[in-house]
């Protein structure tokens, strides 16, 4: 495999390099972007501890702190899920999005001031020399205001705020050990956060823990003095995260769930594949055996005597294997097919015996039942069987399917009517609501062409049918059976708006022409489409006389190669004079015309 990749070397290919550069750039972009998407904490590790209320979700909590549910989950090293949050407490990161130094709030936003509260051991935040550090400001002497929490909801329960020392919070506090650094606060100062409603939380500014944190206890203004007590009561026994029960649906779990579904479907498909394959293989073997048995019986009986149906019936009944198969639906159908094939391939008296056999084995009942089936395939099969086995009494039922919505049933019914009633069956054309495909027309004409055409019905009405495909079919029928009495009606079709109808009318006129046909066609020539002009020229070659030589010579001079070659061919068919004129004309014009003449002369 690696050698394949090596085979693609584009050392100096600017496009390839550009493409790879683009890929790398996009990668980098995503990496940076992904990093930026994480909660942008100006105080890494600074956070609030939020008491989770009943029915609160990551999203609802996140929303109230200006963060997303996923960010909250991620910050707490939990997997994000949609349901109620299970842990009692959550750590809410303090970011630029949910806290600020200045008292600026947007609409629908509540500002919760953060105050230092005395009495908690920790670190001391020293002001910058200019004394203008907005992070820790003395408001009315004591306590100290450190900033504002922005929240959408006033009833968030916050236990404590943890702000590690030595962090560039709001760009004001410098790291410990440096100039204007944070030093230990002894004794610690606690700050109280006033929230508009009940005593929800406490904050402590301190720094005795491992991260040298400043803790802020948050209390209601009216109970600021009792904050320490409150803090003791509410101070987390730090966060106890219980194993979620039931297990929440995470992103990975959702994907894996889909994988499980897909694998289950795949397994199900595999079972069906092997089942169907085994069934089909078994069916093939069975059909081979059946075919051999039936053919053996058939050949014996058909060769022995002409009236073999009774013997054949007896043979089929005596063979255990065939008897068993006759009782089965599939086996019986296979035997029906074989009998029908026999009927189709053997004509005369022997063929009649297959009909007798078909009826004596009550297979006509099987075919009739299929007509009532809901499966179109069975209906088609039933019609086909009844028609081939000449079950004329079923014609009415078959006729009902002439305008079936299913085109295959419709087509088979049309064929069956023609097969059963010959030309008489064509009267379905009068009531047909659907167009007839070219394939269907071909099938019908092929069937009709084997019949004596003395009893062709009156086709006048069909030529004026609004069903254009019926008109085309009728024109083909008239041409095929040379119904010269229809000449006048066919001429009328030359005025039809449909180009294809006119085309077939021209072709039909070739077969049923009379002394007026050529003149009529010549009159039509000028106004006809290119395709029909070519057709007229070809017809001139077949039915024209020397009177049309000038016309064909005119056509030979037009600027259309197909028309030229058609005219040349037509001229060559109009006797010696036509050939002479063609040679003379082509010799005179030379060039392309010489090639045309040679082409005609070579008889290709």
């Amino acid at each position: 495999m690696p050698s394949i990749f090596i085979s693609y070397r584009y050392p100096k290919n600017i496009f390839f390099r550009s493409f790879l550069t683009l890929v790398i750039c996009l990668n980098c972009f995503f990496l940076i972007a992904q990093k930026k998407q994480r909660p942008n904490s100006t105080f890494p590790n600074s956070h609030l501890k939020h008491i989770v209320l009943p029915h609160q979700t990551f999203n609802s909590i996140g929303k109230s702190y200006g963060l997303t549910g996923e960010e909250i989950a991620d910050y707490n090293n939990l997997e994000y899920y949609d349901g109620d949050v299970i842990p009692k407490y959550l750590t809410i990161p303090l970011t630029k999005r949910n806290s600020s130094i200045d008292k600026i709030a947007f609409t629908n936003e509540h500002l919760v001031p953060l105050f230092q509260i005395k009495g908690i051991p920790g670190r001391l935040i020293r002001y910058k020399k200019n004394g203008n550090n907005p992070l820790i400001r003395r408001v009315n002497g004591s306590p100290l205001l450190v900033g504002y929490l922005h929240t959408n909801e006033v009833n968030n329960e916050v236990v404590e705020t943890v702000v590690p020392a030595g962090i560039r919070h709001f760009g004001q506090v410098k790291q410990a050990g440096k100039k204007a650094a944070i030093t230990d606060l002894k004794p610690a100062i606690t700050i109280a956060i006033a929230v508009p409603q009940k005593a929800l939380a406490s904050a402590v500014v301190g720094g005795a823990d491992t991260v040298s944190a400043i803790r802020a206890a948050i209390v209601l203004p009216k109970i600021v003095n009792s904050s320490s007590t409150l803090l003791k009561e509410k101070r987390p026994a730090l966060v106890e995260i219980k194993k979620p029960q039931p297990r929440p649906a995470t992103r990975e779990r959702k994907v894996l769930f889909l994988v499980e579904i897909q694998l289950a479907i795949t397994f199900f498909l595999l079972v069906i594949i092997f089942f169907v394959a085994a069934l089909r293989n078994r069916k093939e073997v069975l059909h081979t055996q059946l075919k051999a048995s039936i053919r053996k019986v058939l050949i014996n009986e058909v060769l022995r005597e002409e009236t073999f149906s009774e013997n054949l019936n007896r043979s089929l009944s005596t063979s255990d294997f065939l008897k068993k198969q006759m009782a089965k639906k599939g086996g019986r159908q296979f035997i029906i097919d074989e009998i029908i094939n026999g009927r189709k391939s053997i004509k005369g008296k022997a063929g009649e015996e297959f009909l007798k056999l078909y009826v004596s084995l009550n297979m006509n009942d099987d075919s009739s039942k299929k007509l009532k089936s809901k499966n179109w395939n069975d209906v088609v099969k039933g019609i086909q069987e009844l028609a081939i086995m000449e079950q004329n009494h079923k014609m009415t039922e078959i006729f009902h399917e002439i305008n079936s919505r299913n085109e295959l049933i419709r087509m088979e019914a049309q064929c069956a009517l023609v097969r059963l009633s010959g030309f008489g069956g064509l009267w379905f054309l009068n009531v047909l609501n659907y167009p007839i495909s070219e394939w269907q027309q071909m099938k019908l004409l092929s069937m009709l062409s084997t019949l004596p055409f003395s009893d062709i019905p009156d086709l006048h009405l069909l030529l004026t049918s609004p069903n254009e495909s019926s008109v085309i079919f009728t024109l083909k029928l008239i041409g095929l059976f040379q119904q010269r009495t229809m000449h006048g009606e066919v001429i009328k079709c030359l005025a039809n708006k449909n180009e294809t109808i006119r085309f077939f009318a021209i072709k039909c006129l070739k077969e049923i022409h009379n002394e007026y046909t050529v003149d009529i066609l010549l009159r039509k020539f000028a106004t006809e489409s290119r395709k029909n002009k070519i057709s007229i020229v070809k017809v001139m070659g077949e039915i024209g006389s020397q009177d049309q030589l000038d016309f064909l010579l005119d056509v030979l001079s037009v600027d259309d190669d197909t028309l030229k070659i058609s005219a040349a061919k037509a001229l060559s068919k109009l006797g010696a004079k036509g050939n002479y004129l063609l040679e003379e004309y082509c010799g005179r014009r030379g060039g392309q015309y010489s090639q045309i003449f040679l082409h005609i002369k070579s008889g290709v």
Binding site: S7, Y8, E252, L263, E284, S437, E438, M442
Partner: protein, 488 residues
């Protein structure tokens, strides 16, 4: 840097949306194709195709086959074509400036003589040096055209100029056709009364490891070569699911270059094959469809699920890479040449669904997949995305692929059931599992190289070396062809 975050978020969402759309398309293909494939299969059971072969009333057909340096097998291939039973037929073989002895072999084998032939210049093509016909009436259907080399599209145009029948069937001369392939494909063209079928095609199958006797396929085997085997599965998916679904929706934009039938009148009216693209067969279908839409004629392009044509698939990474590279270039050239269709309401479904599908998923797909996967992998390595999530997503894609492939196999078993052995089905399923690791990355890479080559304005076809079929009566030696454009 809010814009940065928004942009990154948007790009991530677009990638997810893209994947979701692709999966939805595949699921739709599977659902839509079921009805169409099974309906065709049942329809076949009650159709007597022999009528078309014997009836003089059937449409007239010209088979056109370009050949370039096919000397090794050309005699047998032409014999195979001549053995096709169809009453109103002519077979035109175009010797497209072969440098081997193809023409001499044909002349002596089929008793050919040069004839004076006036060629109507309906379509542009390079100079025709001569037209040959047989003096033996047994081969009266055969016409051999000797012309200056101009590529496959040019050879096909020359053949269309010479063809005189209503329909043309373009085939690759090295393909093996089923006995009734011609009947089935022509019947499709005349089977729809309400719309004009301008082109039709059928399923192309992989013939590697199959047994060929006298130019006919006598035994179907699953390819022994891994690459050919994967392509077998790929072709099953492509033809039985994708193409059938597009047929149902009347949104098909491609008929395989290996075997396709076209309405000659429309082909000529819309200017024939484009000689300036390596994707000439797709380009022709798109142009024919455009022509029909612009002239307000109801039309459709049909595909049938019957296996009609067997071809030898590339069995080495090198040749396969060239083939996929060319397919990608062909796709880009065609789509860019017809960009007017893109979300143009005038073109209906073609403008709103087919073209955008080809643009976003067939053309852009490999590049987007490559970029997306590399970002995903990098982000995982750097810890931005959890490994658990990475593997679960990977597993999701692989299991989806397996499910889709299994469905294609099921459709095959339910309809034409060519691979009868249980071991063959198991091998195909194994291929479905390994494909994402051993085959798919290479396909993506080759397609990207195709994009790069398109930008470099590379126009060559690339050599296609074949190893020949397993035969009983004839030995096919490795040959070089310029055919086989987009069989899948």
């Amino acid at each position: 840097m809010i814009w940065f975050e928004i942009l990154a978020g948007m790009l991530t969402d677009i990638l997810y949306f893209y994947c979701a759309c692709m999966l939805v398309f595949y699921v739709l293909f599977a659902i839509v194709s079921i009805g169409e494939t099974l309906r065709n299969y049942k329809k076949n059971n009650s159709t007597d195709y022999s009528l078309l072969a014997t009836s003089e009333l059937g449409p007239s057909v010209s088979i056109i086959a370009p050949a370039f340096n096919e000397g090794v097998g050309i005699i047998d291939n032409v014999r195979s074509l001549l053995s096709m039973y169809y009453s109103n037929l002519e077979i035109i073989i175009v010797n497209d400036g072969s440098t081997d002895d193809s023409l001499q072999k044909l002349i002596s084998a089929y008793e050919l003589r040069k004839v004076d032939f006036f060629i109507e210049k309906q379509l542009p093509s390079k100079h025709v040096k001569g037209v040959y016909k047989s003096t033996n009436p047994v081969y009266k259907k055969l016409i051999i055209v000797d012309k200056v080399n101009g590529g496959k599209a040019d050879a096909l145009n020359a053949a269309i100029n010479i063809a005189s029948k209503d329909y043309i069937v373009a085939i690759d001369v090295d393909c093996i056709l089923e006995q009734d392939a011609l009947l089935k494909i022509i019947k499709t063209l005349i089977d729809y009364p309400k719309v004009r079928v301008i082109a039709s095609g059928g399923v192309v199958r992989i013939a590697n490891s199959c047994v060929v006797e006298d130019g006919k396929l006598v035994k179907v085997n699953l390819p022994k070569n891994y690459l050919a085997r994967v392509q077998t599965l790929e072709y099953l998916r492509s033809f039985l699911l994708g193409r059938m679904a597009w047929t149902r929706l009347n949104g098909l934009l491609l008929i395989s270059g290996a075997f396709g039938a076209f309405d000659r009148e429309i082909v000529i009216k819309c200017g024939g094959y484009n000689t300036k693209t390596v994707g000439e067969d797709m380009e022709l279908i798109v142009r024919m469809r455009r022509y029909m839409v612009e002239t307000n004629e109801p039309h459709c392009v049909k595909y049938i699920p019957d296996p009609l044509c067997w071809t030898e698939a590339p069995s080495t990474y090198k040749v396969l890479g060239r083939q996929r590279n060319r397919w990608m270039r062909g796709t880009i050239e065609t789509l860019l040449a017809h960009k007017i269709i893109f979300f143009n309401k005038r073109y209906g479904l073609m403008g709103y669904i087919s073209y955008p599908y080809w643009f976003f998923f067939e053309m852009m797909g490999p590049a987007i997949e490559f970029v997306g996967f590399s970002i995903f992998l990098t982000a995982t390595i750097l810890g931005i995305i959890k490994w658990k999530f990475f593997f679960s997503m990977l597993l999701f894609m692989i299991s989806f692929g397996c499910m889709y492939s299994s469905f294609a196999i099921l459709m095959e078993v339910l309809s034409y059931h060519q691979y009868k052995r249980r071991s063959d089905i198991l091998k195909l399923l194994l291929v479905a599992v390994t494909e994402p690791f051993l085959f798919h990355p290479f396909m993506v890479w080759s397609s990207i190289m195709g994009m790069v080559d398109y930008l470099r304005n590379k126009k060559s076809w690339g050599e296609m070396t074949r190893s020949g079929f397993s035969t009983k009566t004839l030995e096919l030696k490795p040959g070089i062809v310029n055919g086989d454009y987009r069989k899948a």
